[in-house]
Symmetry: C2
Subunit: 344 residues, 2 copies
């Protein structure tokens, strides 16, 4: 029965015909263009509703070169920080009448490159990217940038100057705060497990760590500073390496929460009492850190603020174009906060 009923997509022409008006006027009314009489506009809107009209984005986008769609590339949506940022971005964009295409690179450079191509092909109005940890070359974004499509990097941003906008957390301050906190609670021999230095995140967090250590005139044992992929396994490996020696650390700053959690588990299994024998702090305020016992101190990155700022900057870019070179000159920095818990 359902078959013979033709799908019957109502177009702008159907409205025009029903109202004896030209398609041009219908289009104007629907976009509430100023030059259309109030009464006509109301008639049109009413008829549009009645016919169940819905603008065809393809046609609209093709003609106007505006898709009202923003692309987003992120390593993984299941990472707590990103999930929160995305949620904020999406809800916020929705209010501005924009859609969001969310893509995951799985932290793979090749995937990121492919996705950039696809999103260009979809002619997104703008692109938001938290790039891969391996991404050091950004030429796959050139096409977007050259076509005048605003590109905003957040969290993981290019190290070299690049013609785009950057929004990042205050990772240096985060590293500094975390380390200072460990020192204040009595830490002297402070270890640090961090990510590869190809990423600004870990460069900055580590720099903050070094700064704090230096400021308090504490020596850094370079055997206790790790730059590795921040996996569960690597964290345990690093821990066992550190705790086999005669001298062991009395505090640990882990550059993310996954590592902190893994390290804490290692400590518990090996009779290292936290925080008495080992003070610990992580990074990101993953929900798990407040649930594990002892609860883990960590650094709050305020993903909601990051998301809000991204959309704010983006809307400005879309409205006013990115002529404002000065604005792009330096990154927007979102503050971080220390969260003290039982592990330190």
């Amino acid at each position: 029965m359902n078959k013979d009923k033709k799908p019957q997509e109502n177009t702008i022409l159907d409205i025009a015909e029903a109202l004896k008006l030209s398609p041009a006027t219908i289009s104007r009314a629907l976009n509430n263009h100023p030059h259309v009489k109030e009464k006509t506009k109301n008639d049109i809107l009413k008829m549009a509703a009645q016919l169940g009209y819905r603008r065809n984005q393809m046609a609209s986008g093709l003609r106007s070169n505006k898709t009202h769609t923003v692309g987003l590339i992120v390593p993984r949506i299941s990472m707590f920080f990103h999930a929160e940022v995305i949620t904020t971005i999406q809800n916020s964009l929705h209010k501005h009448g924009y859609n969001l295409i969310i893509c995951q690179s799985n932290d793979l450079l090749t995937m990121e490159q492919e996705l950039a191509e696809i999103l260009y092909s979809s002619r997104v109005d703008a692109l938001i990217v938290a790039c891969t940890l391996q991404t050091t070359d950004f030429s796959h974004f050139n096409r977007l940038v050259d076509s005048g499509i605003p590109v905003i990097f957040y969290d993981r941003v290019p190290l070299d100057p690049y013609n785009a906008t950057f929004i990042k957390g205050d990772d240096f301050r985060g590293g500094y705060l975390a380390t200072s906190h460990l020192i204040e609670t009595g830490g002297k021999r402070i270890a640090h497990i961090s990510g590869k230095l190809t990423s600004n995140l870990y460069q900055d967090r580590t720099a903050g760590y070094r700064k704090a250590m230096e400021q308090h005139q504490l020596p850094i044992n370079e055997d206790w500073v790790f730059h590795q992929e921040l996996t569960h396994e690597n964290a345990r490996e690093a821990m066992s390496r550190m705790f086999e020696g005669p001298v062991v650390p009395d505090a640990l700053f882990a550059a993310n929460d996954v590592t902190a959690i893994a390290a804490l588990e290692f400590a518990k299994e090996n009779g290292i009492v936290v925080p008495d024998a080992l003070k610990m702090i992580g990074y990101s305020n993953d929900p798990r850190t407040s649930i594990i016992s002892p609860s883990l101190s960590t650094i709050e990155q305020h993903p909601d603020l990051v998301g809000k700022k991204i959309v704010e900057v983006l809307m400005d870019l879309l409205k006013n174009g990115h002529e404002n070179a000065e604005v792009k000159a330096k990154p927007y920095v979102i503050p971080v906060d220390l969260i003290r818990r039982m592990s330190s």
Copy 2:
């Protein structure tokens, strides 16, 4: 300097001109249509690459009525189960050359309705939905269904018959497994905190609970069966209600992990020893359940299998149309598994 360089989007016509061919042939070559000479095709592909050509999705979609884009509406991407499902879906769709527009309803019906409209407007080729807990009326999806766009519901599916495809976890079995497990480990007075019965999820999980109780001839104290929004606060409230009486439960089946975690915290704070005085089990295998101590038993829902099945069914639908009414008759059911941990 960058300004005067015209963005220069290369189109199919540019390739045609460069090769002295017609746009029709170019189009065919790029879609590797059978009727184009091998050599010509190679020439075209080479030139396309050279010119940095990228198909304009808008134009293509407008003409062909195929967007190669699938819409997804989900309550929240930050819910572990959904995040995993989405990741699988996206990676899998990507292999098939499809894009995914992910939208969050924030578990709000009005938002879900808006999103359905928007995705219709974007002319997605198909729609995947995990609906809101409040969604009992599905008319906002009618437009899609009537237009012949495949709609697949997963996890939270319509209770009434509806002209779409369903993929769900085996919630009945999950409830049954969880409860049986509590009984086997010695539980006799088993409480159950569940969600509102407007959702199939909680209807089924609760039915499984009742079945197991009945089968073991254990009485159900209806004061210990809660149907409420599964928030942290509500869980604590329910717990305090149950544990103020003279007779208290010796086991608890929580219909999700958030509730189980909140209940476990309540227990720890109030000196109720888990599992000795209270055996517990949750639902979903949220990463937090393995980290909390004692670690929580729970039900694994295999989000990856759910995601895989969704794409498999979807591809079939897109290739063969959904003529196959029989296929849609009953839901696809994904198995669940019991995960035993220290809480039971």
